[in-house]
Subunit: 476 residues, 4 copies
C-alpha cells in the first residue's frame, strides 16, 4: 500500500492511430494516460509521427508535471504512443524515460514497453559484441537493437524474428513505417486491449483508458498476438507457439483499476469474489469489517457481505500526504503511516475488527496499521489478505523487492501473525484466487507465490536485478 | 464534489504552545496541518514566536509545495500558529496568505483565522477613517486593526473589546504577549478544539489533527470562549451573551474529516445516520446503492444498510486528476468529470441505481455524473442527497457561490430532477439533519437552506461578496 | 567590487502617466526598469492604476525572473510606478518587495521609494502608539502611515504635512487620486529626473531609463520639489526650506550608469575627470594602466590619458559567475575572485601596473585582486582609488556595511597599503571629487568620508541599522 | 554581437585525470567550465568514472542552472570530462546535451566533443545500414558508433581506425578504459591545450580554464595528436598525415577569451594588433574611437593607439538584458538592441565617431547600433570591422547562419555601407589577419571569407545543415 510495502507496477502504455491525417494523436493519448497513471508515476512521455518525423515530449514526474498545453501544438501526427513509468527510486540505474526513439535501417521508430525481458543481459551482450553501442539500462532499448540487427530488412518480419528470441513479459506499442504496432507476449503476462475510435484504433494497457478516450472496447489482444494498423486496415498476426497463458494475477488483486476488464473478466467483480471467497474459507467472527484503503475496499465489501458482518470505513486515508519530509526525532515510517491513515475511533473501539488488505510484502506497514487500530481501542484485530503469501520475487515487470525482504519467504504464517500483532491472520489460497478470477491455475502466473516461473529465470542474483547490471551509469 | 460545484471550506487553523522553551512548535504544527489540508489547498503558513521575534514561512500551494526542511531550522520558538487556506481562484481580490503579522502597541502579534466577519466593510471604514492604512483585502487584517485601535492598552482586555464588535463567524488562534490565544465566536459557526500535549496545549480546527500530533483531546472550545496559555497555565474566559449556538451543519455533512469529533459528536457516525435517515424518509426501490466518492461513501453505507440494498463502488475516482488542462475541442467540464470519475459497468449495468451524494450547488457536475451512469447501462437512477436544497449563499466562511447560481434558489425539486435527468431525486430534511446530528434545530446554522442567518447580513450584494470590495487591488 | 566589498545601492524607481487612457503604463515601466536594474537586483515590482483599482505584480529576483508576458495583459492602467530593490541578504529582516499599496481615507495609494528615512523608528513609534498596525520593516510603509494619519484630508496637503516630518533621503513616486506624484527630498540625496513622452510624463531615478523609454529628458527634479501630473497637466511645488544640497557623490563615482546625466552633469564625464584628477594628484610612474572592471573602466581611461601611460584591459571579467557555490576545500572568497577576474598575463607581466578602482570598503577583495596581478607577473602594483577613504557608514540609502568593517575607519592609508600588498596606494581627495563633479563641497554628501551627516543621525547603533529594529519578524 | 548576428561558437570541453584515486575530478571540472561558459550557454554536463561506473549530471541551461552542490557528492571518480554547449534555438533538431555515454565491447565510454564532422551523414548511414540504432542527431554519437564497429578490439587502435575516417573539425575528450583521452583533428580547427596539475593532467578548449583550475599550462595539443593518460603516465600519438593547419581564425577575432593563449599566441595581443593593423590599413579621420562592447574593446584600444585618436566607451552595455520578452507594438530587434546598448551622448555628440566591431553577419544589429549613435548626435560614423567580409557558411563548428542570410555573400562593401548607414565602412584583410595572428595564410582557416574549405564539403544544402537531417525527431 505504501512505499515499497506492496508490489509496484512498472508501466502503462497507449497507442493510437487514425486514418484522418489531421487527427491529433497526442491529445487523445494524454487523456488516456490519465486513466493509467496508477501504473506509473515516475515519468511520462508521448511520441507522435508525421511525415517521417517523430515528435516527442517526455520527462520525470506525473502527467501534470510533464505536459504543458504548448507541447501539444507541436506534437502533431495521426499516430502516436504514450507511456507512464514507475521505477524504483535510488535504484542506482540511470532513469530511462519512455517512449524511446531510434533511427534504424527502416527509418524512424518509437517504442513504449510494459514488462521485463528476462534474457536481456545475454541478448544485450550479443548486441554489444557485434559492435552496437548501448545508451541506457533499459530492456526497451534492447528491443530496438534486436529489430535493427535482423538480417531481414522488412520491419514486420524483423519484429517477428525478434519475438522469437525475447523471453519474459512484454506488452508493447511501437511506431514503425508510420504504423501503429501492438504486441503482447505469448504468456500474456501483462494486459493489453484493443479499442475502436472513429477512423482508427487504440491500444492500451487497460480498458479503463478506452472509456475516457471515447473508444469502444474491441477485444483483448491475445497472448502471442501482433496488431498492425494505419488507421484504415487492422492486421493481426499470431506468433504464439505452445506457451501456456500466464496473466499476472496481481493485475486482478491490486494493480489494475477496478473499472477495467482484463481478458474478459471485470476486475471489480474478481475483487468482490476474492472477498467472498476469503470469508468462505475462514470462520470469521468479528463485529466489523474494514478495508485498508484504497485497494482493499472492494474486496472488503464482498467479504462483509459473505460474512454478514457490517462493512465500515475504519481507516481514513489522507490524500494530501505524498513524500513529505520527516522532522528530526520522528520515525520516518511511523509518521508516514500515521499521516496517511487515521483510524475512526467510533468504528473500531471495543470491537472485534476484521481488516481486509490485498497483500503483505515486507510486513512493516501492516504492522503499523495494526498498531494504530489497537490504539484506537479495537478489542481484537483479525487480518485477511486477498493474496497468498508472497515468497518469491517477480521478474516480469513488478518490483516486489529482493527475496530476502519478503517476509513470507522466511517466516511461517504464524510467525508473520506474531510480527504483525494480530489475533488471527488468514491468506487467500491459489485455488481461491483461480476461482475468483474464473481462470484455471495454469492460465495465471503464480510465480511470486510458488516460484514456478513460466519462463526460466536465472536466480543467481539475490537481488532479483539480474538484467541490466552491465550498463554502469549513475545519473544524478 | 468538483470545482465549485460543492460548498468550499475556507480555512484550517492550528496553534500550539509548550512551556518547554526548546520545544519546536513549527514542526508539530506542520504535521498537524497535514490533517487539515482538506480545509484549504490554496496557501499555507506557519508563524512561531521566540524572544520577541516572530518567525514565519508562508506561501501559495499545498503544504508540500510551501515547506522545505530548511525552513524548520529557522522557525524556532515554543509557541506557534499555522494556517491552510482555500480561496476562490480568479476572484479578482489579492491573495491573502496567512498567518498575518503586525506590530502593535503591545509588541508583535500573529493571527490565523477561519470564518468570515460580516460587518467587516463597516468596521474597516471606521479603521480607515481614523487614519489607519489597510494593506490587504482580508477580514483577518481587520481583527488586528481593531485590537490596535482599542483605548484599553491591555491585550486581553483589548481583544474582549473587539469581540464585542465583530459580527460573523470566527474561530481563530493568535500569538500575542508571547502567549497562545484561541477564540471561537459566540455562535460557534466553525469548530475549534483543545488538546493536551506534554508540557503544553494544542488548539485546532478539528480533532483529527490532534491524533497525528500525538495530542490528547481535551474538549471542544465552547462558542464564546477564549483560551489563553503560555504552556504552563491555561486560562478560559467566557464572552458569550445570549447568542444561540449555530454550528455550520455542513461540517458534519461534508467539510470535516470523518475521523473528527465535533462538539461531542463523531462526524463519521453523523454521516452514517444521515444515510440511514435518508433511507427511512424515502421508499427506496433499487438494486444497488453507490456513493459519489469520496464524501458520499459513509452516508451511502448507512443508507444501504437501512434500505437493505447492496452497497457497491459504482464510480471509480481517479486521484491523479488535478487541474489538468483541456485540449481544443473538448468540453472543459465534461472532460474533467469523465477523467475524475469512471463508472464500473458491471456494478450499474441493467440495475436500478441509488446514488448517494452530499449536496447539489449548481447541479452541473451531478448532471454529468448521472449521464455517465446511464451510459454505463443503468436502468434507473435515483439520487439521494444528504442535505436539504441549498437556496441561500453562506456568509460565514463557505464559498457557496453567488445566489443566482444555486440551482435550488430558483428551481423546484422536480425541475432539478428534470435537469439532472434522474428518475427520482430525494433531499434530506432539516429535521432529519438535526436528528442525525443529535442537535436541536436551533443549535445548528441552517441559513443556506432557509435564509435564516443567525447574524443579520446585508444581502444587497447579489454576489454575496459584500465584505471586501473597498480594497481594490488585483495582484498577478 | 564584489559581494559586499563595495557600497551597495538600494533602489531604482520609475513612474509614468499618460492622458491617453488606453496607454499601457506597465509595459513602458518594464522596459525602463531594465535600465535601472543595476540599482537593485533583489526584487522588482510594477503597480498600475485604473478606475479606482490598483493592479500589481512583484516578486523576488531580477526583472527577468519576476515578469512574464501574461502579467502585462492584466496590468492595465495609464498611470503606474515601478521599483527594483537591493537588500542585504541574510539581514534578518523581512523582505519588503515594492511597490507597496494601501487603502487610506482618500482611496487607493501606491508608493516606490529610494532612500532611507533616518527618523523612521521614532515616527513609527508614534504611528503604533496612536493605534495603527505596522506590517513590514520598511520605511516605505511608514510614509503611507504618515499620510494616512494627517488631520488634513486633502491628499496633496497631507503629503506636504508628512514631508515636514521626514528626515533623511527619499526620492519617491506615488500613485494617489489616480495621479502620478514624484518627490525628491530637500537635500536631494538621490537623483530623480523628469521626462516627457507623447501625452504624458515619466519620472525616473536616472536619465538612462528615459532613453530606452523613448522619453525626452525634461529636467532634474529639484531637491525639495514635488511633481504631480495626470498626464495632461504638470504641477510643481517647492517645499525646500534652507537645507543645503547633498547629492550622494557615489552616484557619480560608482552607482549610476555612465550614460546617465545627474543634476546637469554627465556621469561618464565626471568619471573621466576623476581619472584625470587622480593622475594629476599623484606622480604616477607605471608602464600600463588597467581598470578593475566594470566600474573602473572610464576612470582608468581618463587616468591613462592624463598620465600618458597606455590603457589596457589587464583583468578579464567573467560575466557568467554569479553566486556559484564553492566546493569543500576551496576558499570561498579566493575562488569567487578567481572565477570572476582573470589577469591577462601578456598585459601585466614584468610591468609596473597602475590599477584603477572606485572604492575600498573592507579591502578583502582588493587584496585578492592584487595577489592575482602579482601572480601573473607584475613587477609593481600601484593602486589608485577614485574616492576618498570610506570611514563612516551611510544612513541615506546605501549599504556600506557596519562601521567596524570599513577598513579605513580603523586603519591609516599606509596600513591599508600594507594590507593590500601594493607598492603605492593613492586615494582621491574630497576637493578633487568636487572639482571632477563640478559641484562645490557643500552641494554633495561626503558623510561616508568625514562623518558630517547633512541630517543628524543617532549613531548609537554600532551596526548602523538604527531604523527598523522594532518590527521583529524573520521571514523564511 | 547579439542573438544570431554574430558567429556562434558551439562548445567548450574539459578533461581531467589524477593518479590520486581520491581526487574529485568533478568539482575541478566544474570550476574550469566556468572559464569556458562563453563557448556555450545552452547546456552543460560532467561525467566521471570510478570502478567501471560512469557518474553523470547534465542538463539544459547555464552551469549555475544545471549543477547543485549535492550533485558533486555523487559525481565521484578521479577521471572526468565536462562540456558546455551552444545550440541553435528552435533549430528543429533534438537537443543533445553532452557528455554522452555508451557501453561498447570495451566497457563504458564517455565523450565531449567540440567541432563538426562534415561526413557525418554518410558515416551514419553506414552505421545504420549495418544494424546499429541511432538515438540522437549528434555527430558525437557517431564517434561512439564508429569506435564500436571497429573490427579491432583494442580501444586505442579502434580510435585510430576511426580518426582515419572522420572528416571535419573535432577537438574532443573521452573516457575509455578508465583513462582520459584527448584528440585534436589534423587541421587543428579548434584549440585544445594540455595542463599539469599535482598528480595528473588537464585538457581544455582554452588555456584560461587552466588558470582557474590552478593547472600549469604544458602545451598546445598539436593538430593530429592524441593524448592518453591515467594520471601517472602521459602518452602522445601523432596521427597527422599531410594536412595543413587550419585553426579557425575567429577564435582569435572573437570566440576565445582575451586571456587565453592559443597555439602559442595571446588572444589579447592578436586583438590589439588587429586594431593597430586596421588603423594602419585605413586613413582614419575621427575624433573618437569607440568599441562595440564587449568583444570590440581590445581591438579598439589597439586601433585608437595606432590612429592616435582618443579611446572612449561610447556605448554602454546593459548586462541584465538576456532574453527579455517584447511587448505588443514593439519591434523585437529594435527594442533588444536599445535595451542592450545605450550610447553615451557626451562621448559621441557632434563627433566624428570611429566604431570598432569584430564582424558583421546579417548586418541588422550593426544597422541599429549605427542608428543609435547617430540619434545621440554623432556627426559622422565610420565603422571598422576586424574581420574580412563573411561570405560563406562555416561547417566546422560555428553557426554562421545559412549562406543567403550572410549580408556579404550577396552585397558589395559599398552596398553594405549603405545598408548600415555609415559614412565609411572598412573591413580587415586576410593578410592583415595573418599578420596580426602571426601565422601564415595557410595555417588558418579562412573558409568563411573565401569558401576555401580545408576539407571538402557538400554544399548542396542551401541551409548549411547538411549533416544531421536523417535523424528526424523534434523534442519539445
Amino acid at each position: 500500500m505504501f512505499d515499497h510495502d506492496r508490489p509496484e507496477e512498472e508501466c502503462g502504455i497507449i497507442g493510437i492511430v487514425s486514418k484522418d491525417r489531421k487527427f491529433n494523436a497526442a491529445s487523445n493519448i494524454h487523456i488516456g494516460l490519465y486513466a493509467l497513471q496508477h501504473r506509473g508515476q515516475e515519468s511520462a512521455g508521448i511520441a507522435t509521427y508525421q511525415d517521417e518525423y517523430l515528435h516527442i515530449k517526455r520527462g520525470k514526474g506525473l502527467l501534470r508535471d510533464v505536459f504543458k498545453p504548448a507541447d501539444f501544438e507541436n506534437l502533431s501526427g495521426n499516430v502516436g504512443i504514450g507511456h507512464v513509468r514507475y521505477s524504483t527510486t535510488g535504484s542506482g540505474y540511470a532513469q530511462n524515460v519512455q517512449p524511446i526513439l531510434a533511427r534504424y535501417w527502416g527509418g524512424m521508430m518509437a517504442i513504449s514497453h510494459n514488462g521485463n525481458i528476462v534474457n536481456c543481459k545475454e541478448l544485450m551482450e550479443q548486441v554489444v559484441q557485434r559492435g552496437s553501442i548501448v545508451r541506457s539500462s533499459s530492456d526497451t532499448e534492447l528491443i530496438l537493437h534486436l529489430i535493427s540487427i535482423q538480417k531481414e530488412r522488412d520491419t514486420l518480419k524483423a519484429i517477428l524474428g525478434v519475438l522469437n528470441k525475447l523471453q519474459g513479459a512484454y506488452s508493447m506499442v511501437l511506431i514503425a513505417n508510420g504504423k501503429l504496432i501492438g504486441i503482447r507476449d505469448p504468456f500474456g503476462f501483462r494486459p493489453l486491449v484493443l479499442g475502436k475510435i472513429d477512423n482508427g484504433y487504440v491500444i492500451s494497457s487497460e480498458s479503463a483508458a478506452l472509456d475516457v478516450m471515447d473508444a469502444v472496447f474491441e477485444k483483448d489482444i491475445k497472448p502471442g498476438e501482433i496488431i498492425i494498423s494505419d488507421g484504415s486496415e487492422l492486421k493481426s498476426i499470431d506468433f504464439k507457439k505452445d506457451e501456456r497463458n500466464a496473466l499476472c494475477v496481481f493485475e486482478y488483486i491490486y494493480f489494475a483499476r477496478a473499472d477495467s476488464v482484463i481478458d474478459g473478466t471485470s476486475v471489480y467483480e474478481v475483487r468482490k469474489r476474492l472477498g467472498k471467497e476469503l470469508a468462505r474459507l475462514n470462520n470469521v467472527s468479528a463485529d466489523v469489517v474494514i478495508p485498508v484503503p484504497d485497494s482493499g475496499i472492494t474486496t472488503a465489501i464482498g467479504f462483509a457481505r459473505e460474512a454478514d458482518i457490517p462493512f465500515e470505513i475504519g481507516l481514513l486515508k489522507n490524500p494530501y500526504v505524498g513524500r513529505t519530509f520527516i522532522h528530526p526525532g520522528q520515525s520516518e515510517r511511523d509518521m508516514r503511516v500515521k499521516l496517511k491513515l487515521n483510524p475512526i475511533r467510533s468504528v473500531v473501539k471495543g470491537k472485534r475488527v476484521a481488516v481486509v488488505d490485498d497483500s503483505i510484502v515486507r510486513g512493516t506497514t501492516s504492522q503499523r496499521i495494526v498498531k494504530l487500530i489497537r490504539e484506537a481501542g479495537a478489542r481484537e484485530v483479525h487480518m485477511f489478505i486477498s493474496s497468498p503469501p508472497i515468497t518469491h520475487p517477480c521478474f516480469f515487470g513488478i518490483d516486489t523487492s529482493i527475496k530476502k525482504t519478503l517476509i513470507a519467504s522466511r517466516n511461517s504464517v504464524e510467525e508473520i501473525r506474531l510480527f504483525l500483532g494480530v489475533d488471527t491472520l488468514s491468506y487467500m489460497t491459489m485455488e481461491g484466487l483461480s476461482k475468483a478470477a474464473g481462470k484455471s491455475l495454469d492460465e495465471l502466473c503464480y510465480a511470486c507465490f510458488n516460484g514456478d516461473y513460466p519462463v526460466p529465470v536465472i536466480e543467481d542474483s539475490e537481488e532479483g536485478k539480474l538484467l541490466l547490471e552491465d550498463y554502469r551509469v549513475l545519473e544524478m
